[in-house]
Symmetry: C2
Subunit: 204 residues, 2 copies
């Protein structure tokens, strides 16, 4: 139950909402209030959050405590180190994405094949953009949690192989095709286009 895709999705949604509440200075929230804003039932919210055992009868959940618990569960109670492969339009948008940075996802390096972009500093990236040729040696001395793939289809597999050999355990892929990864590596594909297809379906 705690591994179903649907559950993981709800947990992410709770976190987004709880952070919003926390940032607005709200101190407590009931399962009823939380459910209302995300089209879920209060029962569902209680079943999901019950295992934290921090709800109080007659009161609800303490927003700060709940945020902390969700952060632990999701694994963002510490800085998560990202590297970016491919500093095109999508890559640059990600480097500038403040909410990503605020949540603790920090880009520690970015790599591109294009020499024109090499050496630039973009968005929240502290280091200048490196050449893709430096990737393998970088991974030898710098542990990385997640690699973000924002490159073209052709080089997807070869870059992925370098990442896997370099010990990267999570890959967040923006390309419309999927690289093969060993079982222990988590691959999360971002399906921008599928989301638009779903919208189109609902319109018809």
């Amino acid at each position: 139950m705690f591994c179903s895709e649907l559950y993981v999705k709800r947990i992410s949604k709770y976190y987004r909402r709880i952070r919003q509440l926390r940032d607005n200075g709200v101190q407590r929230v009931s399962s009823e209030e939380l459910a209302k804003h995300m089209k879920l039932s209060p029962s569902q919210v209680r079943t999901d959050l019950g295992k934290f055992c921090l709800g109080q009868s007659g009161y609800g959940y303490n927003v700060v405590e709940l945020a902390r618990e969700l952060e632990k569960l999701i694994g963002i109670d510490k800085i998560v180190k990202l590297i970016l492969i491919g500093v095109g339009k999508v890559g640059q948008a990600l480097l500038n994405y403040s909410s990503l940075h605020d949540t603790g996802f920090h880009f520690v390096a970015a790599f591109d094949i294009n020499p024109i972009i090499k050496g630039k500093r973009i968005g929240y990236l502290k280091e200048p953009v490196k050449s893709i040729r430096e990737l393998a040696s970088f991974l030898e001395t710098n542990p990385v949690d997640i690699a973000v793939l924002a490159i073209d289809q052709e080089s997807i597999q070869s870059v992925t192989d370098i990442l896997v050999r370099g010990g990267v355990k999570g890959i967040w892929n923006f390309a419309p095709c999927y690289p093969l990864v060993p079982e222990e590596v988590v691959l999360e594909n971002v399906h921008i286009q599928e989301s638009l297809l779903q919208l189109s379906y609902k319109l018809t």
Copy 2:
């Protein structure tokens, strides 16, 4: 059953895969082959596609026919007219997104508040970027299927109101907050960050 979120998601996935097969010149595919590539059961595929009544016993599905049927179902058997609001990094990436254009999603106009970007031609956009002040009058004379929101949080609601008044029926929102829309308008939010949270959860 044909409206469940899960079903809509699978239909989008079938379409992506079938197009890939078609583009590679593959003529037929069985439910078994189709299922294998997307972690579904052959039963599920047959149940989903059965209603088209174009599978043939002992043969499978004709790829070209199935693609056409899915296009009709999703509503992309014709050009879908998009407008873009907000021509920043995300907006520009979308204007350059070839697979979106190839699927029949065409940007007929783009609007931005920043005068520096006004008048530029970017990616597949044929028209120069317009000022956001022209939006309302544009909608009066140009019917649009879907508006793409790639703007900051602050202006989300006011822009959405203009779109709704202008008769836009679908909104594809990239902002991390959600505008309120009347019931008949379909709002599809793209949750980039939630997808990264899910990846992080799976890593822990």
